[in-house]
Symmetry: C2
Subunit: 394 residues, 2 copies
């Protein structure tokens, strides 16, 4: 069997590094052919020495020079900037791991899809901001999107061997975040430090705040809607504090399939890399008897209104999820800066989504310009809201 040719976009980030560590453990199965990174040149140089890719891309010309100096005569082809990232995405490969963080990941992921590559998708923005557009391209080019985060990987695994028309609903699990058991008054006074204290996963500040507001779960609902091509009325959320059941699928016959496991990103990464096979990983195993108990409760959309905003955005138009996402980036940054109280994150997001809904006619996403415009408009609206009556600073 020929090894699978892998390209990593965002190779020096967390998903990139963990993907490389999985690939490295199975050298007969994987050949890393292209790496794209930003400014962490020393780490990238080390990866190039380990995996000897055919093609490398970095953010800037200075980084490319440093990489050439570090690698000497063994350096592969090195490109830079957006063009370099695009060339990496289109490099001949069997699977492209889309692990860049933030909006920068969208364009190269679309390039990979249009080049006919299967994509292991770890970048949230791709489907949150441009889901309708991406889904059309995925269909047009007949490629497979393989989710890398734990919830969508769970659903993907539960759907193996099943027909999409037999699905009654997808049930995403949510840890409930650090304020799950707090009353509304205490949530209203929540500090940045309290919001950053996530019970189960160690993540960056933005996503940890999103976990506290349940906006993160809302964004995952949006991703699920596009990833699995099911309407928002067929997506649900259940709170499950232990984060052991990563998500579930209910079928039309009432049967429910669930995927479980200890929280470890290497599992969904390995599932995506090896699909439709599985890799023998040497990891601690789930022991249900030792664990003893799994708890479930309904999400409280009164205390955590951001979750409902995601469903509202999906029911609105193709651009509304991008609008919600951009507004949320602005409001979370304001909360982290101390300019906004915790409940005002949701208030700001809701205000911007409402303003979008009041615009005449539905907004479609024809291309990346439409996505950028929705993003730009929403950020401006959110900043206006912050400057006005809504913000703490007002």
């Amino acid at each position: 069997m020929q090894p699978k040719r892998l390209t990593l976009l965002g190779s020096t980030g967390s998903v990139g590094e963990q993907s490389l560590s999985v690939a490295e453990a199975f050298p007969e199965r994987y050949r890393v052919v292209a790496l794209a990174a930003g400014r962490r040149i020393e780490k990238l140089a080390e990866q190039v020495r380990r995996f000897r890719p055919e093609f490398v891309s970095v953010a800037e010309a200075a980084g490319a020079r440093e990489l050439r100096e570090r690698l000497g005569p063994d350096a592969p082809e090195i490109a830079t900037g957006d063009a370099g990232l695009d060339a990496a995405a289109a490099h001949p490969a069997d699977l492209v791991v889309s692990g860049l963080v933030g909006a920068v990941g969208l364009a190269p992921t679309l390039t990979a899809i249009r080049a006919g590559r299967d994509v292991a998708l770890a970048n949230k923005e791709v489907l949150v901001t441009a889901g309708a557009l991406v889904l059309r391209e995925v269909r047009a080019h007949g490629v497979t999107l393989l989710p890398v985060d734990s919830e969508h990987s769970a659903i993907f695994q539960c759907l193996a061997g099943q027909r999409l028309e037999d699905v009654a609903k997808l049930i995403l699990t949510a840890s409930g975040g650090p304020f799950r058991t707090w009353d509304p008054g205490r949530i209203a006074r929540a500090t940045v430090k309290e919001a950053l204290n996530h019970p189960n996963w160690d993540m960056g500040p933005k996503i940890t705040i999103d976990s506290a507001t349940l906006m993160n779960k809302g964004l995952e609902v949006i991703e699920a809607r596009w990833l699995f091509d099911l309407g928002p009325e067929r997506v649900e959320v259940v709170v499950h504090p232990q984060s052991i059941v990563h998500s579930l699928v209910e079928f039309v016959d009432g049967s429910v399939l669930a995927q479980l496991g200890l929280p470890d990103m290497r599992v969904p990464i390995a599932v995506a890399l090896a699909h439709p096979e599985r890799l023998p990983l040497e990891l601690p195993r789930l022991d249900l008897a030792a664990l003893g108990q799994l708890d479930f409760e309904a999400p409280d959309t009164k205390r955590f209104p951001c979750l409902e905003l995601a469903f509202a955005a999906l029911r609105a138009d193709e651009a509304a999820p991008a609008v919600l996402n951009a507004a949320n980036e602005v409001s979370v940054a304001a909360f982290l800066d101390g300019r906004l109280a915790f409940p005002e994150i949701a208030a700001a997001n809701a205000a911007v989504l409402d303003a979008h809904a009041r615009k005449v006619g539905a907004t479609a996403l024809r291309d990346l310009d439409d996505v950028a415009e929705a993003d730009r408009w929403a950020r401006a609206q959110a900043n206006e809201w912050l400057a006005g009556a809504g913000g703490v600073a007002s």
Copy 2:
């Protein structure tokens, strides 16, 4: 699409009736072509009127006469006895539901397999007493065995779209039975009435006692070993009192898939009838948030030694599971008759299995005669043990 041609062996029993009710709800998908029943002629006549099968088989000539009288000139071909049952099993069909209760189900199920029919298997004895033989026939004739009980259906569903070589282990869930929380002294004094009080399922007395001893779970371990062709070292049991998670599969990458649902036999029946599709059933749905909690604990093989006997039988030889099953039928009957204390069920079973192990050389199952001989020998041994030092009566 042509409707699927269904044959029901044991059509007037619980699985037979529920299978017919599922098939009846989807007349465009199913055509019932043959029915085999025992002595419930009135019910069978009603089924024949509803489904108009091409072929019917009953236990005795008197029953056939009664059926002809009840049906009049519309009666289909009616056969009797073992030959009739065999003819029903071999009747041209796409799927044979093996729903006969007890040892009588084995021969016609083998006939169906040898005739190249896929089999929806609800009869426990087929794989418990003759697993090695049945597995060889299934392989030789390239047919599919579709499990109908909830635990094996759960595993079957978790294995859809997966490769058997990627399975680390099967994890069967057990309710733990009515004595799950009892101390050994109380279990030793357990009455028949207490043992018949099963928490989650309403079943016959023999299987309810087997649930109290965990022998039922042991027999399911034996079935799973043959149904999914995995060694006993890759089968585990976890106690789960709510009977919501019907079983799980752990894969080599540490990922675990589980099937969940409210306890309702129509779901696994529908899964077997519709495979690889699913049927839209109008049943109450699982609501995890309303349920709140799922509990798990390790099975206590000290208090419930019958479970371990099943693994021991699988490690012994091809005939040992049939020996254990026959011994258990004798010992459970003796308990129900008040001739044996509850812990002596396991003691009797263990004694017979030990005696089998002391025989020289491994016993293979070449044909049904070997199965019958293992059964006969074990019953004699069990009765000898009961008459001897072991029994209450002694």
